[in-house]
Each structure stands twice: as C-alpha cells, then as structure tokens.
C-alpha cells in the first residue's frame, strides 16, 4: 500500500534519542524519519525500547538526549503544539475504568475543546464507527480486551490528529479482532493520518507498514521496507523430517541439486532446513526424493519469524520470556503431513 502523496513532509524526524533508566539505556540513540501519510512500523521484542521511544515522541517522557520534530515542531520546546498533532493509544488502555465508554469519550472531547453537544455527538459517532454503541453504557470493567483497545483508539481520534501512535495495537487480541484493528489502521491512513505503530510480529509490520525499523536493546538495527527486510532474512525456509536418518546425506544432495541451496541438519530433531527462494521448486524436490526412495515423516514451509529476522540482523535470537511469546504467535506455517 502506497498512499502517501509526493509531498516531502516529515511527520517525525528523530535524531539520536536517548532515555536512561538507572543504568539501563532503554533507548540508546534512535533515529527515525517518518514520512507524513504513511504507516511506520517499529518492530522489536519486549524491552527493546519501543514503548519508551513512543513515550518520548508523544511528550510523555522527556528524552535524556537527542531531539525530535513532529511536523517540524520540537517535541520538548513545543510540547503543547505537538500534543495538538498527535493521538496516543498506549499498550495498556488509557481510559477510565470506572466510567462508561460514552462518558470517557465525552470527557476527552470536552478536554479537547469541544462544546457539550459537539462532544456528545462526537462520542456517539466514534462509538458507532468502532462498533461499541451497544456497549456504550456498560461499565468498562465488563469490556473485553478488544473492545477496550477499540475504545482507546476511538479516544485517540477525537481531535482527528494527523499523527497517531499505536503501541502494540493487537497484542493480546484474537485473530478476528486483530484483522479488524488492521482495517482500522488502513482506514486511518486512507483518511490522511500518519501512523506509527509498534509490534512484536513481523507479519503485522509486513501487513501494515510502508517502512519498518527493527529495534533491539534501544537501537535501530535495521530499517527499510518490509520487502527489503525480508530479503535480508531470506524468504521462506523448507523443513523436512526423514523417516530414516540414514538417508540424510542423500536428501541433502537432492536439495542441493534441485533447490541449488545448502540444507542444514539440526542435530536434536534430525530435521533438515533449507532456504527456499522459489516455492515452485518444492514440487520438483518432492518428486526427486520419492524417486530416490527417501521417505518423509513431515514437511513444512515456514516464513521468516521475528526470531529469524533477529537472528539474522543482530546475530542473537529474541531473548528471555519473549521467545515463548514468539513461539505462541500464529506462525505462517503451512503443514502438510507426509
């Protein structure tokens, strides 16, 4: 998707942003340039500095170093102007638990300077747009995670800000709600907004973002379009498990002959992994293997995961508790039982 105009307007220009918490350099020199009217994805694991970066750009945190302009306005010296240009949807819903959805929206609208009647109308319009009308009067405690996210996003759109920050907008949402959130983001951009979103999922960044920055331990380790990033990782990988491990060498030779690539054997699982540039060739390989009498117990094609992007770009995998989370992600795996 390429919705931006040829204008050279920059929504965000950040240079060398630094934020230190104690001895932890949470953000350690982040540069970001986001063109107006585009979706920009910030991809990285928990603790990489995504939320801290957003918090600084959204004037919630004062940077310890570096500078940033939002539509040309300095985020520290002209913070109040910047706040008029942004909408922030944080990772944890920033709405009032004790109030109803309507009351929340009306209060935010009133704070933004809308009159009583205007605020009421705006609230009901937004609730309708986000399919929350039925739940409008219910206490927020009874809202599902997806409804809360939607209300949170609705609250960020009251002033129709030209720049919207979405901090992990789909984390914890079920696949259907996630798709709805993606549609909403696309609509926002179609209406002229710029969106900066963070995510832990390469797929999400791939689906939505025009450009992606991969961030790790407070630094931008790679930046580019989704295609550029994926090209650096390799497109997909083919995974085979043999019925008889004695056939391993023969299988590797066949892979080299057909796919023109070097397969690698993982010792613990007796599994062969090979990079796959052209999916069509898989058919040829399978025929070759059958003709050679090599039997498979399993074969699968896997797209690069965040883990692999990280491994390739940073030389280390996604660490600690995130690895389990990354594993739980609905990977783009098409399994074919052999």
């Amino acid at each position: 998707m390429n919705t931006h105009s040829p204008s050279t307007d920059w929504a965000i220009e950040a240079h060398g942003l630094v934020k230190v918490f104690g001895d932890n350099r949470a953000v350690d020199g982040v540069d970001l340039s986001v063109r107006a009217g585009t979706v920009y994805g910030v991809l990285g694991p928990n603790g990489a500095g995504k939320t801290t970066t957003i918090s600084m750009l959204a004037t919630l945190l004062r940077p310890d170093g570096g500078s940033a302009q939002i539509f040309g306005h300095d985020m520290v010296k002209q913070a109040q102007i910047v706040r008029q240009l942004i909408g922030v949807t944080a990772q944890f819903a920033s709405v009032d638990e004790k109030l109803s959805a309507t009351e929340n929206l009306i209060i935010f609208a009133r704070l933004l300077g809308l009159g009583r009647a205007e605020a009421r109308k705006k609230a009901s319009d937004l609730l309708e747009e986000f399919n929350l009308t039925e739940a409008a009067r219910r206490p927020l405690a009874k809202f599902s995670g997806g409804m809360r996210r939607r209300l949170d996003l609705a609250a960020s759109l009251i002033a129709q800000p030209p720049l919207i920050f979405l901090d992990e907008p789909t984390t914890g949402l079920d696949p259907r709600t996630r798709t709805q959130m993606w549609d909403t983001v696309r609509r926002l951009v179609a209406s002229g907004s710029t969106v900066l979103l963070t995510t832990q999922m390469l797929d999400e960044a791939d689906q939505l973002a025009d450009r992606i920055a991969v961030i790790d331990t407070g630094r931008v380790v790679a930046e580019g379009t989704a295609d550029e990033l994926k090209a650096s990782v390799g497109t997909s990988s083919l995974q085979l498990r043999l019925e008889d491990t004695a056939d391993t060498d023969d299988a590797l030779r066949a892979i080299h002959a057909v796919l023109g690539a070097q397969g690698t054997v993982s010792p613990e699982a007796a599994r062969i992994t090979a990079p796959m540039a052209d999916a069509d060739r898989v058919t040829d390989l399978l025929i070759t293997l059958r003709e050679a009498g090599i039997h498979l117990t399993e074969m699968s094609v896997q797209k690069p995961t965040l883990d692999e992007v990280f491994l390739t770009i940073t030389g280390h995998g996604v660490e600690d508790e995130n690895s389990s989370e990354a594993d739980a992600d609905p990977r783009e795996t098409e399994r074919i039982s052999a």
């Binding site: 307007d9 929504a11 107006a36 959204a58 004037t59 919630l60 945190l61 004062r62 939002i70 539509f71 040309g72 306005h73 010296k77 002209q78 913070a79 109040q80 102007i81 706040r83 008029q84 240009l85 942004i86 909408g87 922030v88 944080a90 944890f92 819903a93 920033s94 709405v95 009032d96 638990e97 004790k98 109030l99 009351e103 209060i107 935010f108 009133r110 704070l111 933004l112 300077g113 809308l114 205007e118 109308k121 705006k122 319009d125 937004l126 309708e128 747009e129 206490p139 609250a155 002033a159 129709q160 800000p161 030209p162 720049l163 609509r187 179609a190 209406s191 002229g192 907004s193």
Partner: protein, 286 residues
C-alpha cells in the same frame, strides 16, 4: 474556543471516512495554554471526579460516617468534663470538630490522586493538549463536594444535639464556605504527597503524622488556657486554631474577626507554595 482544529460532522459513521484529516503543517497551533482553557479543563476534570463519586458512592463513607460518629463521641465524652455539660460544649466543639473532620477528609484527596495517577488514563491526560495543572485542579475541585457533605452533616448533627448557632443561618453558611475553602487549600499539601509518594498507603501514613498533631494540638476541643504554657505557644500559632476561632466567631456571633483574614491568607499561601510544587512534581513524574 478550541486550540485544535476540529471539523465536526466530517466523520461519517460506518467507517468510510473521506480524507479529512487536516495536515499537520496547515494547522493553527499555540504552544501555551490560556487561563480560560485552564479553567475549562479543570472543570471538565472536576466533572470527571463527580462522575466517579457517582459511580462509587462507597467512597463517601468517610465524609458521612465520620462527622456523625465524631460529633456524637466527642460531645458526650468531653462535654461534661470541659464545659460542665453538653449544651455549653456544643458552641465550642461543633466548629472544632467541623474543622478537624473536613481537614482529615482532605487527606483522602491525596490518597485517591495517587491511586488515580497509577492508572493508564493519566497517560492519556498527559498526551492531551490541555493545561498541565487541570487533572490535579479538577480532582481537588471535585473533592470540595466531599467537604460540603462533611460540613453539612456536622452542622446537622450539632443541630440535632441542640446546637443553635447565634450568628444565624447566613453566618453558618459563610463559616461552612470558609472551612471548605481552607480545606481545599490544605488538600494541595496532601495532593503534593500524593504525587511524590510511591503508594497510596504511604500518602495516608505521611498525611496522618502531620495532621494529628496539627488538629489535636489546637483549640478545637479544649480551651487554650487549660494547656501548659509551652503548648499554648504552639496552639496559638497553629493555623488550625485560627481557622477554628474564625468559624466560632462567624457561627456563634456572626462576626468576621482577624482570624478569618488570617485563615484566608494562610490558605492562599498554602496554595501559592504547594500548587506549583505539586504541578512540578507531577510534570516530572510524567
């Protein structure tokens, strides 16, 4: 008057919104907040506070039960010992217990502010182009309703027990307004603790340590001349004593004395010191 350009009605329900977002470069923006906007933002925040009280009426227990309980307890406990009988004690005690109760109530403002600030909604307030002081000012403003409830109940309890203020109804109303105004000012102190403290219970702890000596070492419950000399010195400069005397003058005699002026000036000084301190601490936490 809005500082954000908003085009009402440009958003069509159902989701097919046309490209209506005004580009950032074309907007009229101001980097400061006017006084008018500050007041409006604060009142909106106060409205939020009132809605929350409406949703959770149980948080009004302290301002309803405490005035009734304390007034009854202190009157019958000390009445005979201090003033000979309950009737004679009431004109002295009711203003004292009123000041003590309402000021104790203002501690809750700080505690609730701490709890509130830990919630995500404060992040949104920080990201909005509103007056920085408004979330605080609004919370404090909404709490004046709590002081009003406590004040009314204390006077009503006194009336039931036989207290007939000599100054008449309007003097009592003025006295009530004075107490509410001063408690609002004092609540800035507790708001400050609320902002800097790490947990709600620590706010409660610090505030009570300050409040107990201040309210009890005053002329609220006993005549000053019954105290040892060294204590009289403190009691006489204690601002709570001046406020209690001011309320007694107003309610019992209908006169406005020097103590009213001292109380109001004291209140203004507290706000002048603690409002900026609190806002600055709040901003730093941001």
């Amino acid at each position: 008057m809005s500082t954000v350009s908003i085009n009402p009605g440009t958003m069509t329900p159902g989701g097919n919104r046309p490209a209506t977002i005004t580009p950032g470069a074309q907007r009229q923006l101001k980097n400061h907040t006017s006084i008018g906007q500050t007041v409006r933002n604060s009142f909106t925040m106060a409205y939020r506070g009132l809605l929350k009280i409406k949703r959770t009426p149980e948080q009004l227990v302290d301002v309803t039960v405490q005035p009734i309980l304390f007034t009854l307890m202190f009157t019958y406990l000390f009445g005979g010992a201090i003033a000979g009988n309950v009737q004679n004690y009431l004109p002295m005690l009711i203003p004292g217990i009123l000041v003590q109760t309402v000021i104790t109530t203002s501690v809750v403002t700080g505690v609730q502010l701490r709890e509130d600030m830990d919630k995500g909604v404060f992040d949104r307030f920080k990201s909005l182009p509103i007056a920085r002081i408004s979330p605080l000012a609004g919370a404090l403003l909404a709490d004046t309703i709590r002081y009003a409830i406590a004040t009314t109940l204390t006077f009503v309890m006194g009336y039931i027990m036989g207290y007939r203020p000599g100054g008449g109804l309007w003097s009592v109303v003025l006295a009530a307004l004075l107490v509410i105004a001063c408690s609002w000012a004092i609540s800035w102190i507790f708001a400050f603790f609320g902002v800097i403290a790490r947990s709600a219970s620590s706010v409660q702890g610090i505030s009570m340590i300050i409040l107990f000596p201040l309210t009890f070492l005053s002329n609220a419950f006993v005549p000053v001349n019954s105290l040892p000399d060294w204590l009289q010195g403190f009691v006489n400069i204690n601002p709570i004593s001046h406020l209690v005397t001011a309320v007694r003058d107003l309610a019992n005699n209908g006169t406005v004395g020097m103590d009213v002026v001292i109380s109001l000036v004291g209140a203004a000084v507290i706000v002048a010191i603690f409002a900026p301190l609190t806002v600055r601490a709040y901003m730093r936490k941001a």
